[in-house]
């Protein structure tokens, strides 16, 4: 009896030893996964700096926007990801192309909700650029 018991004990020992070596220390702390994975996902860099960061320097534009219908449109929704510019203001962002930009939201589409301002761009402007008449930060004429 003693001999098989010792063999079994040794086998359990080997199992525990291997397990301790290959399973990460804190595996299972929150569930059946590696908590270190949370930090791994969090390490991804940010590309969109966020509204608050833009407003730190660009209060003139933020104030212009406040008065108009674009009050709740975030800067980067039109200007694109600007975290690099926020970290290093010497990186000057390119202005968006209005022809494409405005049409994406305001081109008439039967699936768009009725309350949303829409135009058939081909008929609306006669080929003129949107910002010839509308100021993008406060588009009301």
């Amino acid at each position: 009896m003693i001999r098989p018991a010792l063999v079994l004990l040794a086998a359990v020992g080997v199992f525990l030893l291997v397990r301790a070596a290959v399973v990460p220390k804190d595996f299972g702390r929150y569930g059946h996964y590696r908590p270190a994975a949370l930090n791994l996902v969090r390490q991804h860099p940010v590309s969109y700096a966020g509204q608050v960061t833009c407003a730190m320097c660009h209060d003139e534009q933020v104030n212009a926007r406040k008065a108009g219908k674009h009050a709740h449109v975030a800067c980067e929704a039109c200007h694109g990801p600007q975290a690099a510019h926020a970290n290093d203001p010497s990186i000057v962002p390119k202005l968006p192309d209005v022809a494409d930009l405005c049409r994406r939201c305001h081109e008439k589409d039967a699936a768009k909700p009725g309350w949303f301002p829409q135009v058939v761009t081909a008929e609306h402007s006669g080929g003129a650029k949107c910002n010839d008449c509308h100021q993008p930060h406060n588009p009301h004429l």
């Binding site: 994975a37 039967a110 699936a111 768009k112």
Partner: protein
């Protein structure tokens, strides 16, 4: 001193037992606590989507793609356009995930609307249940994530997701999906899709924050989750969702 064969095995066995006890003890007491201002237990993330506010511009899709470097042709979020006609199967389109919006729909004799889609960050998620190695999980703050260092790329979870929200990354060959911009929300920013939505059709919400507008929203509006019969406890709530949406 004479060492017999038996004696050697005995000593070896004793040493093994000692080492394994030590290793187990270290496993129990040796884990470090995370040092961070962000408290996992204080949050339970989800999203609200207001169908009546979505204009199908595709800003969310582009924003997500740029923020997360989503490979071309794959989507962590996308927008569908539904055209529903009585007695017919609904027509559902999502050209390139609505990355460049939609070609204008001119016919107005159908019920038409946009439906933005993303991972529903289910609390009882089928994708998590099928993962054989613990590479995908619901975080303590309610976000379904993938540990790309553990993922084998077996794709069980891709098949298990009832909402089609997962894909195999063509380069890493591991599963990829919406992280609810975990790298952003854990430092006080909103998700890239919500940041970019010009009509606030999407709102990141924290169900554990008593000040969050989600509580009033859920009290005052009729909401639904996608495929409620799957009982996945999805946390992306849609306002005014049409019954034709799958």
């Amino acid at each position: 001193m004479d060492i017999t064969r038996r004696g050697l095995f005995q000593i070896g066995g004793k040493l093994l037992v000692l080492a394994s006890v030590g290793a187990t003890l270290e496993q129990i007491v040796g884990a470090e606590a995370p040092s961070d201002a962000y408290k996992l237990a204080d949050h339970w993330w989800g999203m609200l989507i207001d169908i009546d506010k979505c204009i199908g511009c595709g800003n969310c899709v582009r924003g997500c793609s740029k923020e997360n470097q989503v490979p071309s042709g794959y989507f962590r979020t996308w927008v569908e356009r539904y055209q529903v006609e009585e007695g017919k199967q609904p027509v559902v389109e999502s050209p390139d995930g609505a990355m460049n919006g939609f070609a204008p729909l001119t016919r107005d004799d159908v019920k038409a609307f946009f439906v933005p889609k993303l991972c529903n960050h289910c609390a009882d998620s089928p994708c998590v249940q099928v993962c054989p190695v613990g590479a995908t999980f619901v975080s303590p703050d309610g976000v379904v994530l993938v540990d790309k260092e553990y993922c084998l790329g077996c794709r069980y979870c891709v098949q298990a997701c009832p909402y089609g929200c997962r894909y195999l990354h063509p380069e890493t060959k591991t599963v990829d999906k919406c992280t609810l911009c975990y790298h952003r929300i854990t430092q006080g920013l909103t998700t890239a899709c919500c940041e970019n939505c010009p009509t606030q059709a999407r709102q990141l919400v924290d169900f554990k924050n008593p000040q969050d507008p989600v509580h009033e929203f859920l009290r005052k509006n009729k909401v639904e989750v996608l495929k409620p019969y799957m009982a996945t406890q999805a946390k992306v709530y849609y306002k005014n969702l049409d019954g034709s949406v799958r």
